[in-house]
């Protein structure tokens, strides 16, 4: 239907004129009801995270494989990386693991085990496979507010300078990886080469 906006407005005007005045409150109520129903039913885009475009906030946490070693953001500067915050007790995290295993071939992945213990994390990783270059243990946790964590899993795409280029507050799925993650990763890699 190829119609100019003025035509559409004219048609709406004519229809509105045919509503008898006493029906106007009902018409408005129905109109509002439709708007509200639509806003509830249509997919809801979360507002973009304020952390995107900023340097990954700093942390220093013991590594699960060696508590005498620590992991901090500076350890993975130099190349793009994914930071995946997960927990061994988190069901969607487990569901995400196969995708992370696949991604680990394309980009280095670092993990933060959130609200967890070294024993549980080690057991979990031996079951699901380990896509991580290194996993930091955040037992307390201390990173919740500084990293803007709503829950687990949370994944950050960080460029070679440590700037967060994307943040996913939901588990990754194949569509998000294909449509958002991989294109962004390629963009970063292309720019890093310049």
């Amino acid at each position: 239907m190829n119609m100019a906006l003025p035509d559409v407005i004219q048609i709406i005007r004519e229809h509105v004129r045919t509503i008898p005045p006493r029906m106007i409150p009902l018409a408005i109520a129905i109109g509002l009801g439709l708007v509200m129903a639509l806003s509830l039913l249509l997919p809801h885009r979360a507002p973009p995270s304020p952390l995107v475009g900023r340097i990954l906030p700093s942390f220093m946490l013991p590594r699960v494989d060696d508590i005498h070693k620590s992991l901090m953001p500076r350890d993975f500067y130099g190349q793009p990386a994914l930071l995946n915050v997960f927990s061994s007790w988190c069901v969607p995290c487990r569901a995400e693991q196969p995708l992370l295993m696949q991604l680990s071939g394309k980009v280095r992945i670092y993990g933060i085990a959130w609200r967890d213990t070294a024993e549980n994390v080690s057991a979990y990783l031996s079951e699901t496979g380990n896509p991580y270059q290194a996993v930091a243990l955040d037992k307390i946790p201390v990173t919740t507010v500084t990293l803007g964590i709503f829950g687990v899993p949370t994944t950050y795409l960080v460029d070679e300078k440590g700037v967060i280029r994307a943040k996913w507050d939901t588990p990754l799925d194949q569509q998000m990886i294909d449509k958002e993650l991989l294109p962004k990763l390629e963009e970063i890699q292309a720019n890093a080469k310049k």
Partner: protein, 115 residues
């Protein structure tokens, strides 16, 4: 780390009152609608601990909420800020009220008998 653990417990009376006031102003970001004061979510517990730690460290309410907004966005506030983007949110209820009032007035306006 020890300071963090201590701040997870209630503070002395005056500071705890300030903490509780802030808890009611902050939204539990994973259970929309609840404030951090009521929520049993883990993230809410972490936000409460952060607020207490910052109060002990001497930060102002403004600084604490600013830090939370800087990582979670304005959705962490129970009262959305008054800004250009949120103007429709604030004005819509008033407009709807005015419209409703106008309609009622028009409906109940006594018919003027023509002399």
């Amino acid at each position: 780390m020890a300071i963090f653990l201590i701040a997870a417990a209630p503070l002395p009376a005056k500071e705890e009152a300030r903490a509780q006031a802030l808890f009611h102003q902050l939204r539990c970001v994973v259970c929309k609608g609840e404030s951090v004061a009521e929520s049993s979510a883990e993230v809410a517990a972490d936000i409460r601990a952060m607020v207490r730690t910052r109060i002990e460290a001497g930060d102002s309410d403004e600084q604490i909420t600013q830090t939370l907004v800087s990582t979670y966005g304005t959705q962490v506030l129970m009262r959305p800020p008054l800004a250009r983007g949120t103007l429709p949110l604030w004005l819509a209820p008033l407009l709807l009220l005015a419209m409703g009032g106008g309609l009622l007035f028009a409906y109940f306006k006594p018919a003027r008998a023509s002399a």
